[in-house]
Each structure stands twice: as structure tokens, then as C-alpha cells.
Symmetry: C2
Subunit: 162 residues, 2 copies
């Protein structure tokens, strides 16, 4: 998707999105300390907080909470897209699947594909998208489908698609 | 759901769950510091990280990241249920809706309802459940439906429902 000239100058509006467009979200490394810290705060199961117990489990070692992995995807989304987009709010996640464990040191690479853009009468648009994280081996570890509410175009702006 | 005598003595297995049973997950207070900290780490949009910008937004003030609110629900689930349950892994979230903003100082109350228990041939069971968080005013702020994989019954244990 060629949004370069637009997004560097102005914010990204729903009218700039085309179904099928894929955003590369870059990557993030997940450290053991972060896995333990998130686990202790929000998901204190031994698999996420206790190295010895995790080693003895069917996973053979510490793995990240799925909610931690989801938060990593959101961070990549914000840094790469939402921070310069006219997003009003998240509406709904319609599917979220954890497909493979995330282990200490894994580098996760994110992408977001635009599935559908539904303009509404009030000047906003519902954007349906698919987010994904793959690990260094190219294995899909998390897949998400959801809807976000966007401003359709700039106030007073003219129509047109990038 | 009367699981008291069982869960105090042994772990909670899928065979102990009945559709329609509701677990009270207790409550958690969400502080401004936690909203800011989670936002800065995982969802650095002004609505979650910048008090002045959030005050000028359509929400009128700082609100928690939806992923933070989701993590709060998971913490309540772990403390009240999963820490004593034979849960193997989360499988899928089939619906997650953020229905109302969570603001600094809000106390969120959690519940989990068992929707369906599907035993499988390998000794495990897929448990479909609905999680919810309400705020102090009784407003539903988050609703989630998902599937987790459980051990069906203790190794060598006899059948029977609590």
C-alpha cells in the first residue's frame, strides 16, 4: 500500500485505506524479564512466572501470556499506524487466536491487513482489519480480526482515495 | 455453582463445570498510575498517556487501554479460577467488546459464566465461557467470549459432576 506521501504530511483517514492493503508494523523482541513482569501483574500462572515450573510443563519452558503477546501487537500497531491515524476507538475483536507459544528472546514481527472500510452517515467509518504476529522462524503466533472506528476524512477535506 | 467442597481439596477439572454456572471473580481498582504505565508500554495513544490531551478529547479525560482492561479481567480470572483449575491453555477469543470507558479510580467487578463443556477423546475438554467486567455504577465495560482447553478429570479419577 502506498501511503507514504500522504501519511508523512497529514493524518491517515479511513478514506485512505483500501481493502487488501497490508501495513508492515516492524518488530519487537520479547525479553524474559518482560514475560515475567507481565505475568506477575496480569496472568500469574506458573507458565508465565515460574521458570522451573514452566520447564517441567508440556511447554518445556517459560512462555508469554497471550494477553502480553496481544499487547505487543497493539504497541506495534500504535507505533506504525494508529499514532498517525484518525482512529477514534476500538470497537470489537471478532476473533483472536493464539497459535504458537512466545518464548524469551523471540522477535515478533507484526502486520495489519485492511479487510473492509464501511463509511457511515456521521462522517466516521468502521474499518475491519486482520492483525498478525509471526516469530523469527516465520511461524504465525497470534492472529486477530477486529473493527476500529475511524474518522472518514479530514474536516472540510475533499474526497478521493490515495 | 457449588464447587466449594471440591476446589478447596483438589483442582477444578472440566467435569466439575456445568453450563450456566457463574463464577464471581471479585474486583480490582484501576489507578491512574496503572493506566499511564500500561499505556506508555503497550498503547501509547494520548487518550491513555496524556492527561491534558485526553481531557480535550471526546472522552473528557484519561481512559484505560482496552488491552489493559482485558488484562485486568485475566488477573481476576487467574486469582479466582484458573490458579486452581486444570487449565492447559487458552485457545481462542471469539468475541471481545469494549462497551464503556474505564477511568482512573474505577473499581471493576468480574464474572465468568460457563457456556459449554465439550469433552474430547484425548482426556481434555474445550470449555466455552463468557467473561464480563462491570464498573461501580453497574455498567458493563467489557464482554468476552472464548474457549480454553482443560483437563477433563484427574488422572485415574472417577467420573461424576459436582
Amino acid at each position: 500500500m502506498d501511503v507514504g506521501p500522504v501519511v508523512s504530511a497529514v493524518r491517515l483517514y479511513a478514506e485512505n485505506l483500501r481493502p487488501g492493503a497490508v501495513f508492515d508494523l516492524g518488530s519487537a523482541k520479547v525479553s524474559k524479564e518482560e514475560i515475567l513482569d507481565f505475568g506477575r501483574r496480569f496472568d500469574p500462572l506458573p507458565l508465565h512466572t515460574d521458570e522451573a515450573a514452566a520447564a517441567a510443563s508440556r511447554f518445556g519452558g517459560l512462555i508469554a501470556s497471550g494477553f502480553h503477546t496481544l499487547a505487543v501487537l497493539q504497541r506495534l500497531l500504535v507505533d506504525a499506524v494508529f499514532s498517525r491515524a484518525a482512529v477514534i476507538a476500538g470497537r470489537e475483536i471478532t476473533s483472536l487466536r493464539m497459535l504458537a507459544p512466545v518464548r524469551p528472546g523471540d522477535v515478533l514481527h507484526g502486520s495489519m491487513e485492511i479487510v473492509e472500510v464501511r463509511p457511515r452517515d456521521d462522517g466516521t467509518a468502521v474499518v475491519r482489519s486482520r492483525g498478525a504476529l509471526t516469530n523469527d522462524s516465520g511461524t504465525l503466533v497470534l492472529e486477530l480480526q477486529g473493527e476500529t472506528l475511524w474518522e472518514h476524512r479530514p474536516p472540510g477535506g475533499r474526497g478521493g482515495t490515495v
